[in-house]
């Protein structure tokens, strides 16, 4: 845009310059000719030949008109010669037409002898440039040059300028467009590669071009950054793995010993304590697993083993598992689903995620409540809506629901349940939102990306 305006300004300036130059040259010619004609008119005796001599000279002069269009031929209407007496009567006329309109125009306009000026004449489209001089006998000589030829030259120049300008702007636009497009396509490829890296694996790298420009440098810098991230991720995995290992080995030994003392037959009074110790130990193990999973997921470092998974089928199996416990607690659970719905996810993590959602309802809902599940495809994503008609979330807790260690009152869990749900869903590129329904119940909405190759739903037969 700036380029187009800039070249346009340069061309306008050039045009102005050329126009004024042409004007100056034709003015110089006019002044020169009018002086010559004045001399001729003064020196020629005023007899019958006067008209012819001056007429011939004027005729000759008109043949050397600058910028003359050769195609105009003999019919010369671009120049006129006019001599007027001191009283303003027409003495001599050389040129096309009768010369009367020219005389009228000259008398109407203020023609100052010496400097040429513009003159509009009735019957002529283009104005004349007229130079005048005063003779010693009191008569005036006017030499007019039509600006037609000058304008024609300027017009053709203008046309050429406009064409050249269009060509320049077109070329410039194309060069800028294609260079930018090429540059941006590199950036686009890098963006695509980079966005994939976050969700799949960290070992992938941005494509590197052989070019030594800014984009090439950007790719290299990005890859260096990814190297560092992968390295710290690897360290995080090493830490969580060794932490898990160091805690699990003693837990295994303790649990084994407790189990042995329980089964060794000595029905001692301690069996009750041993049983509760084992149960505590199992809870501790579960807590350890969840904590590490949540920690890894918060750092976007959860390792996923993605497989195609039918959410509809999974939810029905889960409901089958949880329904007896729910009805024992006086709860009802219902599902509304339009049929199979495929996502690509880590089966073990999704199982545990759904179990956490159900455990959460089971632990917190008072009896006689209903849990409604709705599975659907919304905006090209799998949507699982979980609503109940219980007391809802505590408004104070609601904003911190997915943070670690938040638990509702009288909870028996360790407050990691919803943080774990959030962590797993995020690791799969989805979102969880919690709110309270208008009538007070709790509402959780889980959005997960659909299985990539299908549209998610298999056509229900």
């Amino acid at each position: 845009m700036a380029f187009a305006c800039g070249t346009m300004l340069v061309f306008i300036f050039l045009h102005r310059f050329v126009a004024s130059d042409i004007q100056r040259r034709s003015d110089a010619w006019l002044s020169g000719e009018v002086e010559v004609l004045g001399d001729v008119a003064e020196q020629t005796p005023k007899n019958a030949l006067y008209d012819r001599v001056v007429g011939e000279v004027a005729e000759l002069a008109s043949k050397e008109v600058p910028n003359k269009d050769s195609s105009a031929g003999a019919s010369n209407d671009s120049v006129f010669f006019l001599q007027t007496g001191g009283d303003g009567s027409l003495l001599l006329w050389v040129g096309a037409g009768s010369g009367v309109p020219n005389l009228k125009a000259i008398q109407a306009g203020k023609i100052v002898p010496g400097s040429p000026s513009d003159l509009r004449v009735q019957g002529f489209e283009v104005p004349f440039r007229v130079a005048s001089t005063r003779l010693n006998d009191g008569s005036y000589i006017h030499l007019g040059l039509s600006e037609r030829d000058e304008l024609r030259v300027l017009r053709s120049l203008w046309l050429r300028f406009v064409l050249l300008w269009l060509l320049l702007v077109f070329l410039g636009f194309n060069i800028v467009f294609f260079t930018t497009k090429r540059m941006l396509s590199h950036v686009q490829r890098m963006t695509e590669a980079a966005s994939k890296i976050g969700h799949t694996d960290l070992s992938a790298r941005v494509p590197i071009t052989a070019r030594k420009d800014e984009v090439g440098n950007l790719a290299l810098t990005l890859n260096h950054m990814l190297d560092r991230i992968e390295n710290s991720m690897h360290q995080l995995h090493t830490i969580t793995d060794s932490l898990a290992h160091d805690l699990r080995s003693p837990l295994t030994a303790i649990r084994g010993k407790l189990e042995m003392s329980l089964s060794s037959g000595s029905q001692s009074d301690h069996s009750e304590q041993i049983v509760s110790a084992i149960e505590e130990l199992d809870r501790l193990t579960d807590f350890l697993n969840k904590s590490l999973d949540v920690a890894e997921a918060k750092a976007d470092a959860l390792r996923l083993n993605r497989v195609p998974l039918d959410l509809n089928e999974l939810l029905r199996v889960m409901i089958d598992l949880y329904e007896p416990s729910m009805s024992e607690s006086g709860l009802q659970i219902r599902i509304h689903s339009g049929g199979p719905l495929l996502i690509e996810a880590d089966a073990a993590l999704i199982h545990r995620m759904i179990a956490n959602l159900f455990d959460n309802e089971l632990k917190h809902l008072p009896s006689a409540c209903t849990v409604n599940l709705r599975l659907s495809v919304e905006n090209n994503a799998a949507s699982l809506l979980l609503e109940d008609d219980g007391p809802g979330f505590d408004p104070e807790v609601l904003p911190h629901l997915f943070e670690r260690r938040i638990k509702r009152e009288k909870s028996t869990g360790h407050g990691l349940g919803l943080a774990f749900v959030d962590a797993v869903v995020r690791a799969h590129g989805g979102t969880v939102a919690a709110s309270n329904c208008e009538d007070g119940g709790a509402r959780l909405e889980v959005i997960m990306p659909l299985f990539p190759v299908s549209t998610g739903r298999i056509v229900a037969s």
């Binding site: 649990r255 407790l258 579960d286 416990s325």
Partner: protein, 225 residues
């Protein structure tokens, strides 16, 4: 049954050895990969238990090496790592099953039995299971006790079938979740207990001898005597 136990933690090794011997296995124990290789080449073993984190080499490397040396016995991998990748990796690379620490002894024993059964020539699969006066018709999906038909839901039948197949042996909650519902989860709630409670209400009628027994802190057992 000869069993090779490769585990570097002395505490775990000793209690495993004792429990496995009580369960009727002849156990040889090794604390590192080198010793394990030597012992494995000296004698013929029916089954191996290999811990992934050995001091001198990776458990999976050891298993691959043993396979190359001609050891074809099934392997139960013990892992204290937490990622699924390792488990899958272990399974694909020749280990036959895996168990994450900490585990219940009952589950370890059940998995060992499964591996041995898988490796032995398949016994002709019966369509009927009998445990005392309880009888399951696997084709008609029907269970009877003392000739009386039990009104079971399909899910309850699968649960009862699993208990009957392991009659006399302890099954844990996570084993039931894995085999009956097909998921490895640890619910904070008593979902499995409620299923067992309902099933017991139907199987162990009034005046009948209770068959389904709860072993607190461990799991359940279906009595076979």
């Amino acid at each position: 049954m000869r069993l090779l136990l490769v585990e570097d933690e002395i505490d775990i090794q000793s209690f495993l050895q004792r429990s496995l011997e009580e369960a009727g296995y002849q156990v040889e124990a090794a604390s590192d990969g080198k010793t394990a290789e030597r012992i494995a080449m000296e004698g013929l073993f029916d089954i191996l238990i290999v811990d992934l984190g050995l001091p001198d080499q990776d458990g999976i490397t050891l298993i691959l090496k043993l396979r190359q040396l001609g050891v074809s016995a099934p392997v139960l991998i013990l892992s204290a790592r937490r990622s699924v990748d390792d488990r899958v990796c272990g399974l694909e690379q020749g280990g036959d099953d895996y168990l994450t620490k900490p585990f219940a002894l009952a589950e370890l024993l059940a998995r060992l039995r499964n591996l041995l059964k898988r490796n032995s020539p398949a016994a002709s699969e019966s369509t009927r299971i009998r445990v005392l006066d309880l009888e399951l018709d696997l084709l008609r999906r029907e269970a009877t006790r003392s000739g009386q038909v039990l009104q079971l839901t399909p899910q309850e039948f699968v649960l009862l079938e699993y208990l009957c197949r392991n009659a006399g042996r302890v099954v844990t909650r996570s084993m039931i979740l894995d085999k009956v519902w097909g998921m490895r989860i640890q619910p904070d709630t008593n979902v499995v207990d409620v299923h067992i409670y309902r099933l017991r209400g139907k199987v162990d009628g009034q005046g009948q001898k209770p068959l389904i027994r709860t072993l607190r802190g461990v799991g359940y057992v279906l009595k076979d005597r």
